[in-house]
C-alpha cells in the first residue's frame, strides 16, 4: 500500500526551496495517530527552505490528526482549513505558521473536479 504521507514529506524534501513560504520561519511537528502508533514528522521552514526529519524535537506549532485523514489532506481530497475548523485537525502553537503551511497541500485531484462546462479558454503558464 502506498503511503501518501511519506510521499508528501518526500516531495517536500525534494522541493527544498518554496518561494511562497519565504516569509515563514519556524518548526512544525506533525503527530499522526495511526491506531496505537503515532507517526512523527518534523518540518523546519526557514525563509522558504524546507527540511524534513523524523526527529522528536520541540516545535513552534504542533499539528495533530489521524494519519488516515492526513493521507487524504496531502492527496488533496480533504481541505486542511476546513478540517481545522471542524476540529478534525488540532493545532497547538503558532497559528500563523499553519496558515503558511496549508499552502503546501495540493488541490483536489483532477478526476474529482467537474468539467468546466464549456467556459474553456483558460491559458496555463
Amino acid at each position: 500500500m502506498s503511503d501518501a504521507t511519506a510521499e508528501f514529506f518526500g516531495s517536500l524534501t525534494q522541493r527544498g526551496h518554496v518561494p511562497m513560504l519565504e516569509k515563514a520561519k519556524g518548526t512544525v511537528r506533525f503527530e499522526l495517530v495511526d491506531g496505537k502508533r503515532t507517526d512523527r514528522w518534523l518540518l523546519v521552514v526557514d525563509k522558504g527552505d524546507l527540511a524534513v526529519s523524523r526527529r522528536n524535537a520541540g516545535a513552534d506549532c504542533t499539528l495533530r490528526t489521524d494519519k488516515a485523514l492526513f493521507d487524504r489532506i496531502v492527496d488533496g481530497e480533504v481541505n486542511a482549513a476546513a478540517a481545522v475548523l471542524r476540529g478534525a485537525v488540532t493545532i497547538d502553537g503558532d497559528m500563523e505558521l499553519l496558515v503558511q503551511l496549508q499552502k503546501l497541500f495540493p488541490g483536489p485531484p483532477p478526476r474529482r473536479r467537474r468539467s468546466r462546462n464549456g467556459a474553456g479558454g483558460r491559458r496555463r503558464a
Binding site: 511562497m20 488533496g76 482549513a81 476546513a82 493545532i91 495540493p106 488541490g107 467537474r114
Partner: protein, 693 residues
Amino acid sequence: MSDGLVKILDGNTFVVSDSRGDIEASLTDPTGLFSFDTRFLSQWVLTVNGKRLTPLSTDDLQYFETRFFLVPGTGTVYVDSKLSVIRRRAVGNGFREELQILNHDEKPVDLTVRIDAGSDFADLFEVKDALKKKGTYTTRVTDGRLVLGYQRETFKRATDISATAPARVDKQGLTFKTRIEPQGEWSTNLDVVTAVLGTGEKHERPKFARPRGRQNMENNLKRWLDQAPTLECDWDSLRRTYMRSLVDLAALRFSPALAGYRSLPAAGLPWFMTMFGRDSILTSLQALPYTSELAATTLQALGDWQGTRVDDFRDEDPGRILHEMRYGELPAFEERPHSPYYGSADATPLYIVLLDEYERWTGDRRLVHDLEYEARAALNWIDEYADLMGNGYISYQRRNEKTGLENQCWKDSWDSISYRDGRLAGFPRATCELQGYAYDAKIRAARLAREVWKDPEFASELEKQAADLKRRFNRDFWIADREYFALALDSDGEQVDVLSSNIGHLLWSGIVEKSKAKAVARHLLGPRLFSGWGVRTLAEGEGRYNPIGYHVGTVWPFDNSFIAWGLRRYGFKEEAARIAAGILAAADYFDGRLPEAFGGYERSLTRYPVQYPTACSPQAWSTGAPLLLLRTMLGLEPVGDLLVVEPALPVGIGHVALLDIPGRWGRVDAFGRGRESPNEKQPLRPSHEPVPV
C-alpha cells in the same frame, strides 16, 4: 436603531437583542450571541418575579457596550415601578452582563430573578437559509455553571454561563432569590463565555475563562480616535459624520483567527463580520489617509490566504485573492466553500492597487518587498487564470455551480448585469470595472517593480501590457453613439449596453482615454444617473431600472466615493464636489451612519434619502465613504515624500481643516476654503440644520 434591535460587538463576536436586552431567537431570526459565525445563545430572557420587563431606555455606550434601563411588568401601566432594573452588557469572548436591581420603596422586597438561557448553535448560513442541524446537543450543570454544548463528530462548540451572586442553576437557566432592603440594591455579574473546542478538549472550562475587560476596550477605542486626524469645519453634520465613521470603523475592526492580533476591516454587522477580499481592500483604501494599519493587515492576511491550487469547489486558482472566509459548521464540513471561498474577480487586481496606494501613503517599502511574491502571483492570475474567454479581458464564471457566487463583481445580485432591454447577459461576463482595475494594477505594479523590486524589465513589460489593454478597452467597450462604456462584454464578446455607475470606477482606475472622459463625467452627473444625492447603480430608463432595486437603481455611498475620486483624477473637481455634497448631506439623515444603499429616487421627489431595507449596518465601505469623500474634497494626493493638497469644496462649505494627517511625511495639516458664490446660496445643509455664522 431602525429595526428595533440592539447590536454590540467585538471583532466577530456580537450580540443582537431586543430593546429589553432579551434574546428569543428562532432558527430564522437574527438575534443571539454570535461568535465565529456560530450562534452561542439563542435564548436569554430575564424575568423578575415571573414577569418580563419593559424598557424605559437603551444607551449605546460604546459599540461593544449597551445599558438597558427596565422596569418589571409589561404594558403601559407599571405595576412594579418601585423597582429599577439595569442591565449593562459588554462583549468580548462572549459577554458580561452586570445586572442591577434597585428598590425605591420604603419596604423591603423579596425577588425571584430568573435568566432563561439556551442555544441552538446555528451556523450563520443556517440562520439565513433556515437549515436543520445535524449534530447533538448537551446541557450540563457543573460547579454552579450552566454549560450548553453542541457536537457533530469532531466539531464542538460550548457556551459556559455563570454568575457572581449565589444562584440555583438548572438546565434551563439561573435563578436568584434575594431580598432588597428599602432604597437598597442587589447585583450580579452574568458571564457568558463562548468556546471553540478541539478534539482533545472536553466540555470543561473553556480556554478563555473570562470576558475581556471593558476598560481595555475603552482604552483601545480612545487610542484609535486619538491617532486619527482631527477635522475642523463649519458644517456640523460633516463633523458628526466623520466622528461616527471613525467609531464605526473601530467597531468593524476584526482580527481574523489565524492572523495574530492585527486587525482589518470586516464587511458589516451583523452578517458580514468576517474577512472579505473586496470589502476589506476597498475600505482600507478609503481609510488610508486616516490610518494605514487596516491596509497593512489586509494586505498581509489576504496574502497569507492567497490561492495556491486549482479547487473548483472553492473557485480557487493560484494567485487569486479570497472573496470570503467563514468559521461556522457548514464550511467546516465542506457543505459551503468558505474555508475560504475565492469567487471574486476584482479582489485580485484591487490587491495590487492597495499595495501601491499603501506604499505611496506610508513609504513602507518593507511590506512591498515582503509581498513581492504575492503581488507577482496576483498579476499572473490576471493573465493566466482570469481571462476565461481568451480575449485579453478578466471575466468570471463560477465553477462551483451549487454554492458558488454567480456574479463575482461588486454588483453581485442575480439581475445586476443586463442589456438595455432587460435581458440578462450570459456567462462568462467581463464587466468593465474589472478591466479598469486590471489596468490600474499593472500601472501601479510597474511603479513598484521599478522602484522597490528593482526589476525595470518587468516594469516595462507591465506598462506595455497596460497600454495595450487601455487601447483595446477603449475600442471594445466604448458605445460610440451613446458616448459611454458598456457595463460588460458578454460570452460572445458583445457589449452589454446599459448605462451604469461602473463607468465611474473606470475614471478612478485611469483606463479611460482623455478624449472620452468628459462624456463619461457628463453621464455620471446627468439626469439618468445622478439622483441629486448620488450616482445610481443603473441609469433611469434602462429595462431593469428600479429605484429600490439592490444593484439596479439604488445609490451606494461607497460606489459614489470611488466615482468622486475618479472624477478628481480626470480633473472634474466641481463634479466630484457635487457628489461629495450629495452623499454627505444624505449621511445627515442617518445620523452620520450611511447605509449600504438608499433609493435612487430623485432628490426633489422624496426630499430625504429612502433607506434600502437591509440587515447590515454599519457596513464597512459605507463607513469609509465619508472618509474618501473628504480626501477627494481636499484633493489629498501623496507625491513622493509630500502630501499635495488641492481643495475643491462643495458650494455651501466655508472651510475644512484636516489636522495631523499621518503618512511618510510624518503628520501634516490640510486646509480648504469654499468658493465665494453669493448668488448660489443653495444650502448644503438640510433645512433642520442650523447654518453656522
